[in-house]
């Protein structure tokens, strides 16, 4: 489902991907997503939802900011 399809309370809510890692030697990995109308609320939601593990770093990215090279069912070049 695209971010534009969300309408959870706020009409302008969008989807954010949540990334985290437990050690410096690990890459950030996708741990989930949240839906929120702005970065502040998305940060609060991400922390509340995914903070049960001992992450040393957590970051959020608006789904729409990610550049898709190819999607499932499409072939990469």
């Amino acid at each position: 489902m695209s971010g534009a399809g969300f309408n959870r309370v706020h009409g302008r809510a969008r989807e954010y991907e949540v990334f985290a890692r437990k050690a410096r030697i690990e890459p950030l990995r996708l741990v989930g997503s949240v839906v929120a109308p702005d970065d502040d609320l998305a940060a609060a939601y991400a922390r509340a939802t995914y903070d049960e593990e001992r992450w040393i770093e957590m970051a959020i990215v608006p789904r729409e900011a990610m550049v898709t090279l190819w999607a499932p069912g499409e072939e990469g070049e």
Partner: protein, 241 residues
Amino acid sequence: MSLGTLILSLADNKQLLGLRYAEWAIRAPSLEADIAAAAMGLDDLGHSRVLYGCLEPLGERGHLGRESDPADYLNLPYLDQPWTSWDQFVAANAVLDTAFTVMIQACVEGNVGVLRSRLRKMLSEERYHFLHGRSWFRAGIGEQPLEEAWRQALEWFGPSDGEVAELHRQGALAMGPAELRAELEGRLGTQAPDLEIDWSAWDPRRRRSRPGQIDARTFDMLRGLEERRYHPSGAGGTSPG
């Protein structure tokens, strides 16, 4: 009033705020907001335990033996009853929770060792409460709960010549009432409404003007009586309905 009584007030308010947040863990407007309400509730209940643990080193014993009168709790009127609207939640989250955080900052930057060392971690956790509250606050809420939250926050900071001002002069708190208010306004990016506060009706121990107390069910829960209803031995209680 002493510094210990102020910390007891902070602890009681944090405990009740945590319980009121938790009551919205399945009633908030979205799943994310449900989870945030639960998480913030857990945070504040945890903070209250740390604050209660600071009372003995401060020589405060007012939290002991509070089994008969719910008015012994030093919470604000805003927390007396469960909230009936999301606007009440947001006003408490944005204004009252931030007011408590500003006071914690004043303690952390003050000259009392036990508060400087034990309360610091709360500030990092409270950052997410603030982001949550400010975002919902900016989305717009009703005037009445917002004004009530502001009034009670300013009453909780106390009068310009009260004990908080004296604790500021002594260095125990890094901010007095005027600085606390300015810090709260600065964080929320808005001015407090123009409010007349009648300090003659203000209770310096409970830091509130309005009489009242927490509801009976919450008081029973704090004393463990609600839990007994679910215990197999019953302890004379009734079965859950």
